[in-house]
């Protein structure tokens, strides 16, 4: 009885000389929602397409539901994919789109129609079964694409940036719908996106990739709280983490931030004195302080207010972005009193960019 629905071990892929996927090890539990996230060109789509069989793997093993699937053609893998462009068959009605996979397998017309109606009810498409894709809105097309996947009852769902073509409000709504559907069906889902917010809010397990390598994988909050390296730290969380070059103080119990002028912050653990490193501070962890407990006083460069929050950029070298959760009346040129909990410091080796324990 396999616990993992999909297992990738030592997977490598080359396009000619280009090493697109490097030593990928990934185990996906049955019923979990896994997000593959990273900047363009990191290999997330390649990885997804390799799962589907649309690309071949150069080395390593791909096992789906206990069976080794290297070299097995896509139509035998029993995986369903929702494409970024939806790939709806334009010359078929919604119903025909849904029943296509069933018809290819020889399911009877009545049975196929019944299933289509069933799925359409789940996704709210019952009224649209007779329409053609060109007559539908973006959100409706997206749901048809998902319904087409659902009707197949596959071993896993693969999503290739399905929300990128939708406007922002619809994206937020569809995020919840997709996750809700996943839960309702008890499905296993692999979801590719470049948007870390989508990954963080939807997934049980997030895989951050860069240049063909898995930089870190784990639960969303794990990646947020303890990023393994500078790249993951800067990628997860919005606005992005601030990075400041720094040096451990002479006593080994504090660190001096080099912001043009030096600012000292306490450490929770002692480190080798004089060591140079990079300190990461999330914008939301710099909190407005009263005059008494302000550990940092920083000059203000610019101020932007959204009504609910205030974004302050400091006039330091490097600049720090601060997110304050209230309306603050402060102006450029003034000094901002801030408090920083030492537990919220992220420390990275300056050379390797890896997290210091």
């Amino acid at each position: 009885m396999t616990l993992h629905q999909i297992e990738l071990s030592g997977v490598n892929k080359y396009y000619g000389a280009y090493h697109a996927l490097r030593d990928i090890d990934l185990k996906i539990r049955k019923g979990s929602f896994v997000a593959l996230v990273g900047p363009s060109g990191c290999g997330k789509s390649t990885l997804l397409r390799s799962l589907a069989g649309l690309e071949s793997i150069s080395a390593g093993d791909l096992v789906i539901a206990g069976t080794r699937m290297n070299g097995v053609p896509p139509r035998k893998r029993d995986l369903a994919m929702v494409f970024q462009s939806y790939a709806l068959y334009p010359h078929m009605t919604v119903e025909e789109n849904l029943t296509y996979s069933l018809r290819m397998r020889g399911v009877s017309k009545e049975e196929a129609r019944r299933k289509a109606e069933e799925v359409a009810t789940t996704t709210g498409l019952s009224a649209l079964l007779g329409r053609y894709p060109r007559e539908l809105s973006g959100g409706q097309r997206q749901r048809v694409a998902m319904s087409r996947a659902i009707i197949r009852n596959p071993k896993a769902f693969l999503f290739d940036e399905p929300l990128s073509n939708l406007d922002a409000a619809l994206r937020v709504h569809m995020r919840k719908e997709i996750r809700a559907l996943h839960d309702r069906l008890g499905a296993t889902s692999v979801y590719v996106t470049h948007d870390q917010v989508e990954a963080m809010t939807m997934a049980d397990h997030v895989v951050v990739m860069r240049q063909g390598v898995i930089e870190q994988q784990g639960a969303p909050l794990e990646l947020y709280d303890r990023p393994a390296n500078q790249f993951v730290a800067g990628f997860i969380g919005s606005p992005a983490m601030n990075f400041v070059p720094a040096q451990v103080g002479a006593d080994g119990r504090s660190v001096v931030l080099d912001l043009g002028t030096p600012h000292t912050v306490a450490l929770t653990k002692s480190l080798e004195a004089g060591r140079v490193l990079i300190v990461g501070i999330r914008p939301e962890h710099l909190q407005l302080a009263g005059e008494a407990d302000a550990g940092l006083r920083l000059p203000v460069g610019s101020v932007e207010s959204t009504g609910a929050a205030t974004y302050v950029t400091t006039a330091t070298q490097p600049e720090l972005v601060v997110v304050l959760n209230s309306r603050v009346s402060i102006r450029p040129g003034e000094t901002l009193p801030l408090h920083l909990d030492p537990a919220h410091l992220h420390l990275f080796d300056r050379e390797t960019q890896i997290r210091l324990a």
Binding site: A52, P74, R75, R77, L79, A80, M81, Y100, R152
Partner: protein, 300 residues
């Protein structure tokens, strides 16, 4: 009107000027002759009355004469055979080639261009070459057929009434392959790749993908191609002039060659005009089908 003329450099007059001059030219050079054809088919025309416009009006006499001649129906039949056989041959071979090159192996786009050669060559030259290839005693086609065991004796393509039409059909198929292939290639590449991927994931094999995705989505291309094929095949003249000249005994004669022959060999301009009118009606019909299956867009 004055305003229009003033706006010739700028504004609506500019557009109207640019379009109306060529259209007037086309109307004069193509529209008027069309009408003239119809007029002449109702007149009695001979060598002496060529110079005048007012010729005796004879009603439908030319049409009746035409259809009472023994060669009329066989020639029309030949025309139909010629069209159907040519289109069938060009289309299947063109489609097969288009599919073959669409797989996109390295070198495919360059090699595909080679197949366009027949389109730029003068029809007479193509006809002359095929005339020689189809020669009964010395033609290389007969040689190849005999060597491969497909036939036992020479086929006299040009002089045997049973084969003369097919001689021109063969040459015409060769000629039309490039156009068919290009048009179908364009249609094929308009189908988004991810539709095939989706179909593959949905469980369709190669044959199923061809019938459920490729063919239905090519419907308008195929419709346009068949209509255009009809139009261009009915325009084919040079091959007939170069290979069989309609003979022997009208066995390879087709309507468009016969119309010319009636006017310029037999100097029976009235009959020439009559058959021209009949054929033009058919051609117009096909072109309406073509126009309907093409799409037009405006500039981005």
């Amino acid at each position: 009107m004055r305003r229009l003329l003033l706006s010739i450099r700028d504004g609506r007059g500019f557009d109207i000027g640019l379009v109306s001059v060529p259209l007037i030219f086309l109307f004069a050079m193509a529209g008027l002759p069309l009408l003239y054809n119809i007029v002449m088919s109702f007149q009695e025309v001979d060598m002496f009355s060529l110079g005048t416009f007012a010729r005796p009006f004879v009603g439908f006499k030319n049409y009746i004469t035409l259809f009472s001649q023994p060669e009329t129906w066989p020639i029309l039949g030949n025309t139909a055979i010629f069209v159907v056989a040519s289109i069938a041959g060009q289309f299947t071979i063109g489609f097969a080639l288009a599919l073959f090159f669409w797989t996109g192996f390295p070198g495919s786009s360059w090699l595909r261009g080679l197949f366009l050669v027949s389109w730029v060559m003068p029809g007479l030259v193509v006809g002359a070459i095929w005339n020689w290839i189809l020669s009964g005693d010395f033609g290389v086609l007969n040689f190849i057929l005999k060597e491969s065991g497909l036939v036992s004796a020479n086929i006299f393509w040009r002089s045997d009434p049973n084969f003369s039409l097919w001689a021109v059909v063969i040459a015409n198929i060769w000629l039309g392959i490039s156009f068919n292939m290009i048009l179908l290639s364009v249609g094929l590449s308009a189908i988004p790749r991810d539709l095939y991927e989706a179909a593959e994931l949905d469980g369709a094999n190669v044959v199923q993908r061809f019938y459920t995705i490729t063919l239905p989505m090519m419907r308008s291309s195929i419709g346009a191609l068949v209509a255009l094929g009809l139009i261009f095949t009915l325009q084919q003249f040079d091959l007939f002039a170069a290979i069989t000249a309609g003979g022997p005994n009208n066995s390879s004669n087709v309507a468009q060659y016969w119309a010319w022959d009636l006017s310029f060999r037999q100097y029976d301009f009235a009959q020439g005009a009559t058959i021209s009118v009949i054929m033009i009606v058919f051609v117009m019909f096909a072109s309406v089908v073509y126009v309907r299956s093409t799409r037009h867009e405006v500039r981005g």
